[in-house]
C-alpha cells in the first residue's frame, strides 16, 4: 500500500508540475547481440557434459516511464527511464545455470505527433545512456567465487525509435500499442565473457553491439487541459 501511495504521489506531482503528461510502457523485447551469442555458443560447444544447452539471450521484457515536458507544439520532448530483463536458463542434472541480463536506460526523448495529418499516430526518438549488469545463478543460488557474487557491468549508449498509435482519450487517459527499434552501437562490458564462459579474451571482444525490437502497450496520462 505504501509503495502504491508513493507511486501515486509521484505521478500526480509530475503531472501537476511542468509536465504535459506521463507515459508508462510495458513490452516484450527481442535482443540480438553478436558477441553475447558467440560467448554462449562457445560455452555450449565447450561443455558436452551439459546435455541441455544454454539458450541464447534473446527474449525479455521491458518497462519504461516517460515524463513529457509541457509544450503546445507538435514536437514535444521529455525524459525517459527504461528497464529491461533477459534470462537464459538451462536445467541439467546437478547443474541449473541461469544467466540474467538487466539493462537500465536513462535518456532524453523527442515526441512527434501530427494531429492533423496522422491522427493518433506518433513517434518517439529516444537517446539514452545504457548500463547493464549480467548475473549468474547456479542451482538456484547466486554464483559466488572469491566470496563475491559473480557480476559483469556494462556501459554504453542507445538510440530507440518508437512508433505508436493512441486510442481515444478518456478522462485524459489512453492506451496505445507501439513497436520500437533500438540500437546500442557500443556497450562496453569487458567481463560478460568472464561470467558466461569463465574466460576473458578467449572468445569475444570486451564490447558488443546490440539490436532490439520491442512490441508493447503504452498507458498515457495527460494533464487536465484548462
Amino acid at each position: 500500500m505504501k509503495r502504491i501511495l508513493i507511486l501515486k504521489i509521484f505521478i500526480i506531482s509530475c503531472i501537476s508540475a511542468s509536465s504535459q503528461g506521463l507515459k508508462i510502457d510495458a513490452s516484450y523485447e527481442y535482443l540480438y547481440a553478436y558477441q553475447l551469442d558467440k560467448v554462449i555458443q562457445t560455452y555450449n560447444f565447450s561443455r558436452p557434459f551439459e546435455k541441455e544447452k544454454q539458450p541464447l539471450l534473446s527474449n525479455g521484457i521491458n518497462t519504461s516511464i516517460s515524463y513529457i515536458f509541457k509544450n503546445e507544439k507538435q514536437i514535444k520532448h521529455g525524459l525517459n527511464f527504461a528497464y529491461s530483463f533477459f534470462q537464459s536458463a538451462a536445467e541439467n542434472e546437478n547443474f541449473n545455470n541461469n544467466l540474467n541480463l538487466h539493462f537500465i536506460n536513462l535518456g532524453y526523448f523527442i515526441h512527434y505527433e501530427n494531429t492533423e495529418k496522422w491522427k493518433g499516430f506518433y513517434s518517439d526518438l529516444i537517446f539514452s545512456g545504457t548500463s547493464s549488469i549480467m548475473l549468474r545463478n547456479v542451482n538456484g543460488e547466486p554464483y559466488v567465487y572469491d566470496n563475491i557474487n559473480a557480476k559483469a557491468f556494462g556501459i554504453g549508449g542507445t538510440v530507440r525509435l518508437k512508433l505508436g498509435y493512441s486510442s481515444a482519450w478518456k478522462n485524459n487517459r489512453c492506451f496505445s500499442p507501439f513497436i520500437a527499434f533500438a540500437y546500442t552501437p557500443y556497450l562496453y562490458a569487458p567481463n560478460n565473457e568472464r561470467i558466461i564462459n569463465q574466460t576473458k579474451g578467449l572468445t569475444s571482444n570486451n564490447w558488443t553491439a546490440i539490436g532490439m525490437v520491442q512490441i508493447g502497450l503504452t498507458f498515457h496520462i495527460r494533464k487536465q487541459e484548462q
Binding site: 486510442s167 500499442p177 569463465q198 574466460t199
Partner: protein, 446 residues
C-alpha cells in the same frame, strides 16, 4: 472502421508481426558454435594430458574421428595419483584448483566433486627462525609500469635484501620458475586476463580423479599408450606421423599438446621444419625444473605452510582438505632448487637434504619422526622435462605466436599455449583443448 476495432486489429497484427519473426530469428541463431560443421577427416592428438584429453572429448561430442598418441605408459600428463603412500589419495602432479570460476569449476559442480578452499596458514623461515609476519611488504609484483626484469632483481630494487631471497623464490616457484628467470612485467602482463578467481581449492579425492572420471573416461578407448611421436611430416595433403619404433600414423589434422620443452628441444622433427618465428616463440616461453617430494612422519610437528627454505622454498601440509589425516608434508620444489636436488645422487639423497632443512627449522624433529618419502621428479620425466610454463624475460607475444596453427593442419594446445591468462593451470590446458578444436573446425569451414 471503428477506432476500437482498429486498435484491436492493429495490436493483434503487431503481436503476430513481431512474435513470429522473433521465433524464426531465434531458431536461426544457433545455440552452439559450429553446430552444422561436419568433418569426415581424421584428427590425431599428440599427448594425453588435460589439453589432449579435452580436445578428444570435444571431438567425440562432435562425432569426429580421432585418436590420441601418448608417449608414456599412462594418460594424464602432469596429473597423477598415488594411492598407497598415505591413508588418503595424493596428487603427484597438479593438485590445486586455482579459482573456481572456470570450466572445471562447472564440471566440479556438475559431478558433485568435493573441494575445499585451502586456507592454510603460512610461516616464514626468515633469518633462521620461523615467523608469522615479515618486516617488509612482499606484495610488489603486481601493478602498472613494472619492468621486464627478473623477480630477484626487482626485489633487490625494491629494497628486499638477501634475507628475502628464498621468500621471493617461493613466490616465483608458485609460477613454476626461479626468481632469477621469471619476468615481473611478463608475468603481470600475461595474467591480465586471469578470470578464474583467487581462491585455491584442494580436492577431497584428487584432481587426477576429476579428469580421469569426467573426461578421460569418455575417450580412454582412443588412447594409444607408449607411442613416442618422433616425426611429423605435414608436407603433403595427408599428414604422416612416425613414432620411435617406425610405426606410421596418418591423419588430416594434428593437435600437438606436448609440454613446451619437448617442442623446444626438437624431440619431434617436423617436415617441413617449423617456421623460425615459431621456434623463436617456443624458446621465449620458460619451463623450469620441478618436483614434489612427499614426506611421511609419525607426528605432525610442522606448520601448515612453511615458506623460505634454502633447499625447498615451499612446504605444505598435504592432509589439508582430505578426510583422513596421515602426517604427510609436501616439499614443492621449483626452479634452481629443483635443479639442485635433481643433481643429487638419488631419491634418498633428496629426502636427506629436505630432512636436514626441516630438522634445522624444527629442532631435529623431522628425522626423529620420519617414516618414508616419495619423490616425483617431473624434470627427469623424458616426456615432460619440467614443471609448467612461465613468463621468461622478454616473452612478449610468444604464446600467441607459438599457438598459431600451421597450414591449417597442425594445431598447438597445452597449458603453455594458453593466451588468456590461464597458462600453468589445468583449466588453462582444457581451454586450449577446446579452443584448438574450434580453430580446426573454423578452418574446415573456410
Amino acid at each position: 472502421m471503428e477506432r476500437r476495432h482498429f486498435l484491436r486489429q492493429a495490436t493483434l497484427v503487431s503481436i503476430g508481426g513481431i512474435l513470429i519473426p522473433s521465433t524464426f530469428l531465434t531458431s536461426c541463431r544457433k545455440e552452439t558454435l559450429l553446430e552444422d560443421v561436419k568433418y569426415e577427416g581424421k584428427v590425431l592428438i599428440i599427448g594425453a594430458g588435460a589439453a589432449g584429453l579435452y580436445a578428444a572429448y570435444i571431438l567425440k561430442s562432435k562425432g569426429i574421428n580421432f585418436q590420441i598418441l601418448e608417449a608414456s605408459a599412462n594418460y594424464g600428463g602432469r596429473l597423477g595419483k598415488l594411492n598407497t603412500f598415505a591413508n588418503f589419495p595424493i596428487d603427484l602432479g597438479a593438485q590445486w584448483l586455482h579459482g573456481k570460476n572456470s570450466i572445471l569449476g562447472d564440471l566440479i559442480t556438475k559431478s558433485n566433486t568435493q573441494i575445499t578452499i585451502d586456507e592454510s596458514v603460512t610461516k616464514y623461515w626468515f633469518n633462521n627462525q620461523l615467523v608469522t609476519t615479515l618486516p617488509q611488504n612482499i606484495d610488489i609484483f603486481n601493478g602498472e609500469d613494472l619492468p621486464d626484469i627478473s623477480y630477484s632483481d626487482y626485489a633487490l630494487q625494491k629494497g628486499l635484501g638477501k634475507e628475502y631471497k628464498y621468500i621471493i623464490e617461493n613466490i616465483a616457484g608458485d609460477q613454476g620458475a626461479s626468481a632469477s628467470r621469471l619476468s615481473v612485467f611478463g608475468n603481470n602482463q600475461e595474467e591480465e586476463n586471469w578470470s578464474s578467481g583467487d581462491d585455491d581449492f584442494k580436492f577431497q579425492e584428487t584432481f587426477y580423479d576429476l579428469i580421469d572420471q569426467e573426461i578421460a573416461g569418455e575417450v580412454k578407448d582412443k588412447i594409444v599408450l607408449n607411442t613416442i611421436v618422433s616425426k611429423i611430416d605435414y608436407s603433403q595433403a595427408e599428414i604422416i606421423l612416425t613414432d620411435s619404433t617406425n610405426n606410421y600414423f596418418k591423419a588430416d589434422k594434428v593437435i600437438i599438446t606436448v609440454p613446451i620443452p619437448i617442442l623446444k628441444s626438437g624431440d619431434i622433427e617436423f617436415t617441413p621444419p617449423l617456421p623460425k618465428e615459431k621456434t623463436t616463440a617456443f624458446s621465449k616461453i620458460g619451463m623450469d625444473a620441478g618436483m614434489k617430494v612427499f614426506l611421511k612422519f609419525s607426528t605432525k610437528f610442522y606448520d601448515q605452510n612453511i615458506v623460505g627454505g634454502t633447499i625447498c622454498a615451499a612446504y605444505a601440509d598435504e592432509s589439508i582438505g582430505k578426510v583422513q589425516n596421515d602426517n604427510v608434508l609436501l616439499a614443492f620444489v621449483m626452479g634452481e632448487q629443483a635443479e639442485y636436488l635433481t643433481a643429487l645422487a638419488n631419491n634418498d639423497a633428496i629426502t636427506k637434504a629436505l630432512l636436514q632443512e626441516l630438522d634445522m627449522m624444527y629442532n631435529g624433529q623431522a628425522t626423529q619422526s620420519f617414516i618414508s618419502s616419495h619423490v616425483q621428479n617431473w624434470t627427469t620425466n623424458p616426456f615432460i622435462k619440467g614443471a609448467y610454463s612461465y613468463s621468461k624475460i622478454g616473452i612478449g607475444d610468444a604464446r600467441k605466436i607459438a599457438c598459431q596453427s600451421i597450414n591449417q593442419k597442425v594445431y598447438f594446445a597445452g597449458e603453455a599455449m594458453n593466451t588468456n591468462g590461464h597458462h600453468q593451470t589445468v583449466h588453462g590446458a582444457v581451454e586450449t583443448g577446446y579452443r584448438e578444436v574450434i580453430n580446426l573446425l573454423n578452418d574446415i569451414q573456410k
